[in-house]
Chain length 326, copies 2
Amino acid sequence: MAKNIAGLQEVFSTFLAAMETGREPRSLYAPADYIMTLGGKRLRPLLTLMGCELFGRPAEDALPAAMAVEIFHNFSLVHDDIMDQAPLRRGMPTVHEKYGLNAGILSGDVMLIDAYRSLCRCPADASLARLMERFNRMAAEVCEGQALDMEFERRNDVTLPEYLRMIEQKTAALIGAGLALGAVIAGASPEEEYHIDAFGRHIGIAFQIQDDLLDTFGDPDKFGKKTGGDIVQNKKTFLLLKALEVADEKSRAALLSWYEKAEGDESEKIEEVKSIFQTLRIPEQTEAAKASFQRTAFEHLRAINTPDDRKAPIIEFSDWLFQRDV
Amino acid sequence: MAKNIAGLQEVFSTFLAAMETGREPRSLYAPADYIMTLGGKRLRPLLTLMGCELFGRPAEDALPAAMAVEIFHNFSLVHDDIMDQAPLRRGMPTVHEKYGLNAGILSGDVMLIDAYRSLCRCPADASLARLMERFNRMAAEVCEGQALDMEFERRNDVTLPEYLRMIEQKTAALIGAGLALGAVIAGASPEEEYHIDAFGRHIGIAFQIQDDLLDTFGDPDKFGKKTGGDIVQNKKTFLLLKALEVADEKSRAALLSWYEKAEGDESEKIEEVKSIFQTLRIPEQTEAAKASFQRTAFEHLRAINTPDDRKAPIIEFSDWLFQRDV
C-alpha cells in the first residue's frame, strides 16, 4: 500500500532529524548544519520516496537517496546564493552572509560530497552505477542551468526555447532525477525510469512557468509575497520572453523601454508592464503553456504500467503543487 | 611487467589529450578546460596507475580513476585559489582572476561532478561501491584540511600535531587515495588497500614537511623559487611550530616578535628567523621528522606481499619526489 504525502513527509522528517550534525571541524560543518536545519518544504526528497513506492518498494529503502537529493538541493542553494549575492534564504541570513564567502564555498563543496556519500548508502541490491549515472547527469545539468541563468542576465537576445531549456536544467532536472532515483532503487526498467523522469521534468517546467506567472499576476495574499518583483528586477521570465515573441513593433518598443529604465517609480513600471502583458494576452498564453507541459507530464505517467493506487500520491502531490491560484 | 614512471606518464598524457573539451555552455566549461590544460606535473594520477599495476592489473584499466583524481585535484585548486585570493597558478591567471568569482565557483562545482563521472567509468568488474567510499572519504578530508588550514591562519595556538593532521587531510589524503583507488581497481584486499593508502599518506606528509623545509632552507636555484616566502607570510609551518615547541623562553619571545611584525625589512626578518631556527636545530629536527614519516611509509609498502619488480616504479617515484636537495 503506497503511503500518502503526509505519510511520506513523516518518514522523511524522522530520517532527517536523525541525521548526524556537529561534525568537526565546525568551521566546515556548522554552515552545512545551518542550511540543512533552516527548513524549507523538503519537496524534492518526497519525490524520491514516491518514485520508489510507485514501483512497489517501501519508501524507507529510498531514504538515503532522498537525503542525497535534499543535500544536493541545499548545496546548490548555498553556492547560488553566493553567485546571486542573496542576503536572505528562507527569511534568514544566507550561509555566506552568516559565515563568510570562504565558508560558503567550502561548506557547499563538502555538502556536494555528502550528497554522494548519502547516495552510496542506498540498499546494496540497487544498482549504484545506475544511481550514480542518474545523479551525475542531473548534477551537471543543474550547474549548466545556473550558468545559462547567469549568462541570460547579460544577454538581450534570449529566446523562449533557450529559457525553457535553462529552467529545465536548473530546476526541472532535479525534479525528474528525484523521482527517477527512487524508481531505480525499486528496480524500475530503463523505460520506466525514462517516463518517470520525463514526468518530473515536465511538471518542473510547468511549475516554474506558474511561478513566473504568479510573481506578476498572483494574488499577493495567496502567493505569500509582493507581486511584480521579476518586473522590477528586469528578469527574463516566460512572460517577458513570450511577450517579446508575440508583440507588434509598438508594444515591443514600449516593453523594452520599461525594461531599460534603471530608475523611476516601481509600481508605475509594474502596472504598465502588466498592462502590456494583458493586452498581448500573455497570462492566457502562459497558462496554456503550463497546461501543455502538465499534459505531457501526465502522458508520461500514464505510459507507466503500475496500479493506479500507486500513482495516487504522485497525482496528489502534483495537484497540490498547482493548486496555488493565480 | 609493470611500467616505469616515463611509461605511465605517457599512458596518462595520451588519455588526457583525448579528454573531451569544448562542451557547452562555454561560460561553465571554458574555465574547467582552462585549468585542466594549464599543465602541472600530473603526479597524482600517476599514483593511481601505479597502485593498479602494483597489484598486477594494467595501468590502462585505472585511467578513468586516475582522471578522477586529476580532475578532483584541479577542482580543489580552483576553489582554494578563490579562498586564498591567489592571482596566479602555474604562472598564469587563476580561474577566478580570468573568468570571475562566479565562474570560479560554478566551474569548480562541475569539475567535482566530472571527477565522479570519471570514477564511474572504471571497469565494471571493479567495485564501484568501494571506489566511491574511498573517493568520498578522501574528498571530505581534503575539505576538512582546507577548513583547518584557514582556521589556523586566525589562530595563534596551533600545535604541531594539529598541523600534521591538517597536512595529512589537505595534501596527503589525496596521495593515499590516489594509490588506493588503483589498488581497488586491481582487486587488492582491504588490508592491501589500507597499506598502500598509509604508504601514500606518510609519503605525502613527508613531502609537505620537505616542502616547508625547502621554502626556508632550500637552494633557490634547485628549489625554483625564492626562499623565505613562508616566513614573510607568517605561515604556520612545520619549522615554526617545531621551533615554538622546543624553544626556550628567550628564543620563543624573539620568534614571536618577528612573526608579529607587520612591516620592516623582509630579508632581515628572513635571516633573523632562519638564524633562530638554526640555533634551535630546527632543520635537523625537520629532516628527522621527514625521515621518520618516510620510514613508516616504507614499512607499509613492505607489508604488501607483491613481487619487488612491481614495487619498483613506486620506489622510483618516491625517490624522485625526495631527490630535491635542501
